[in-house]
């Protein structure tokens, strides 16, 4: 199994850290992982994206032409990456950041209103974990337990009390993700 994922959005949305936790969770399961950010001068408000590959085999190229799954959190990212999802692949988008929804019919499109949910839960900083939960519902690339273990591993001790909130966010994401057009 190899899952090639692109996560794209605005800087500050937690795109890179979501990718990192996904990669770390893969590592905890003994999988091969690569986390390749499109680094740049971007800061909050700019564009940010990261390619995460989780595989049972050694990962060849960290740079890809097309993806199994694209998670897009704003309009420019949707425009850039919708055409790059493999036929039969998956596209997940956050309803809040997208004015013109995806149009392709040969891929599976899911919508997750993660920004709204994060605001409702008053947990705006767990936005990316809600999105991650959505992904894990559609594609259980890694187990939730591994994600929680990854959080314990990567978060400084002083933030460990926030792990239950993150778990709550992941479960919320699993709940609210819907196939586009069926909401």
């Amino acid at each position: 199994m190899t899952e090639e994922i692109i996560i794209a959005g605005f800087g500050g949305q937690g795109v890179l850290s979501m990718g990192k936790i996904l990669a770390y969770a893969g590592l905890m399961e003994g999988k091969e992982v690569t986390w390749m950010p499109a680094y740049g001068p971007e800061q909050r408000g700019g564009t940010a994206n990261v390619t995460v590959i989780v595989s049972d085999d050694p990962v060849s190229s960290p740079i890809l032409s097309s993806y199994d799954t694209a998670i897009v959190l704003n309009q420019p990212s949707l425009e850039k990456f919708e055409p790059k999802v493999k036929k039969g692949g998956t596209l997940i988008y956050d309803g809040y950041g997208i004015n013109e929804p995806p149009t392709r019919k040969d891929i599976n499109v899911y919508r997750i209103d993660a920004m709204d949910a994060a605001a409702e839960m008053n947990l705006i900083k767990t936005f990316n974990m809600i999105v991650l939960g959505g992904l894990l519902k559609i594609h259980p690339v890694v187990k939730i337990d591994s994600v929680l273990a990854a959080l314990r591993k990567t978060l400084p001790e002083r933030h460990h009390h926030l792990i239950p909130k993150n778990e709550e966010a992941i479960r919320k994401g699993m709940e609210i993700i819907v196939k586009a057009g069926q909401d």
Binding site: K20, A23, Y24, L27, E32, V33, T34, W35, M36, P37, Y39, G40, P41, V59, S60, S61, P62, I63, L64, S65, S66
Partner: protein
């Protein structure tokens, strides 16, 4: 951190951790994207409190390389890291070290040029690293890691080679290898050498003259031409020995290959994916990955050129290594180049397309 723990980190971070673990005595550097995490990680790890390793942010790249020169002259394991424009600034010091036959490690996490260029990945410093970016007849030993694991592993290897041959060594990575995170097992801890060990292993070093020993003088200056030629000939003989003994490369799916890609560093990773795609389309392609860019695996390329219908040099530049491939292939097989410029990384599909169009 346990010795054999598998962890996830950036290539730049792996360089820093590996330096601390392999008995490095000093790091002198100046921040520049995309390699700043090397210095940042060292600053966070505070090795001066544990192994006693010096970590110093100099006022410039010129100062850094000359601090490395000074440290190396005393037989210490010293290093610097930078990215392309910073490494250009270091060329004078690097040439002096090659002339004075000093071991040291220089890490170049390349970005696109020329000039200040871009902060995105590139491999356009191949000529600079392999053909002598500074003046004079000299070579660096150049290692090209293609993974975060190799970033960690090559630090100790580069120091070993540098000391074995009394010659500066370079790890030439690029922004992609520096910035990406992968699984890595860090090398086991190796203590810094004691003063006595340094005196024993580096009898040439300026360690402080004791008793009747001849004074050690570290210099690249020799105004008598006859003497300077002797020094040059000795250095050249050393280079021939390195070419004989230290060529390193990896072969991937070459056994039945009709076409070969030659690529190093992150381009080699892309090549592997392109080969998967090409083979699924029935095109038999393999990869030769030079791990040492100097010494270059010329013999292996020559052998390959008698076997395949064409060789594609995949580089993230306008065509530099392709010249060494052509020299080695000696006209036995057509050699073409494909690359992207300005910080754009070629994607696997366009490499397959290039392969189809070029032969």
């Amino acid at each position: 951190m346990a010795d054999q723990e598998i962890t996830l980190m950036k290539g730049n971070e792996a360089i820093a951790h590996a330096a601390i673990r392999c008995g490095c005595d000093g790091y002198f550097g100046y921040p520049i994207t995309p390699q700043s995490e090397v210095l940042e990680t060292l600053a966070a790890e505070k090795p001066w409190e544990t192994t006693g390793m010096v970590v110093l942010q100099a006022e410039s790249e010129v100062a850094s390389i000359n601090m490395v020169y000074g440290g190396a002259a005393t037989g210490k394991r010293v290093m610097t890291s930078s990215s392309s424009p910073g490494v250009s600034l270091m060329q004078e010091g690097i040439s002096y070290m090659a002339g004075a036959e000093l071991p040291a490690l220089i890490v170049n996490v390349m970005r696109g040029g020329p000039g200040l260029g871009t902060i995105q990945p590139s491999q356009s410093d191949y000529f600079q690293a392999c053909k002598g970016g500074g003046h004079g007849d000299y070579h660096l030993i150049v290692l090209a890691p293609a993974s975060v694991q190799e970033m960690a592993d090559f630090v100790d290897l580069a120091f070993e080679l540098a000391f074995r041959y009394r010659n500066p060594a370079m790890i030439m990575a690029d922004g992609a290898i520096g910035q990406m995170m992968e699984k890595v097992v860090l090398p086991p801890f190796k203590p810094r050498r004691t003063e006595e060990e340094i005196i024993r292993e580096c009898p040439w070093a300026t360690t402080g003259r004791v008793g009747m020993r001849k004074p050690n003088i570290i210099t690249s200056l020799e105004l008598r031409s006859e003497e300077m030629e002797v020094i040059n000939l000795r250095i050249q003989a050393k280079y021939r020995e390195i070419e004989e003994k230290e060529v390193r490369y990896e072969e991937f799916m070459l056994d039945d290959a009709e076409y070969a890609i030659v690529a190093f560093g992150s381009a080699a990773r892309i090549a592997k994916k392109s080969i998967e795609i090409a083979r699924a389309q029935g095109l038999k392609v393999g990869l030769l990955r030079p791990i040492t860019l100097w010494p270059f695996p010329s013999r292996e390329v020559a052998r390959l050129s008698q076997k395949v219908k064409g060789i594609l040099s995949l580089e993230i530049n306008a065509g530099q290594m392709v010249e060494d491939i052509m020299l080695a292939a000696g006209g036995n097989a057509p050699v073409r180049h494909f690359g992207r410029l300005g910080g754009i990384i070629p994607d696997p599909d366009e490499v397959v397309e290039a392969l189809r169009n070029m032969f």
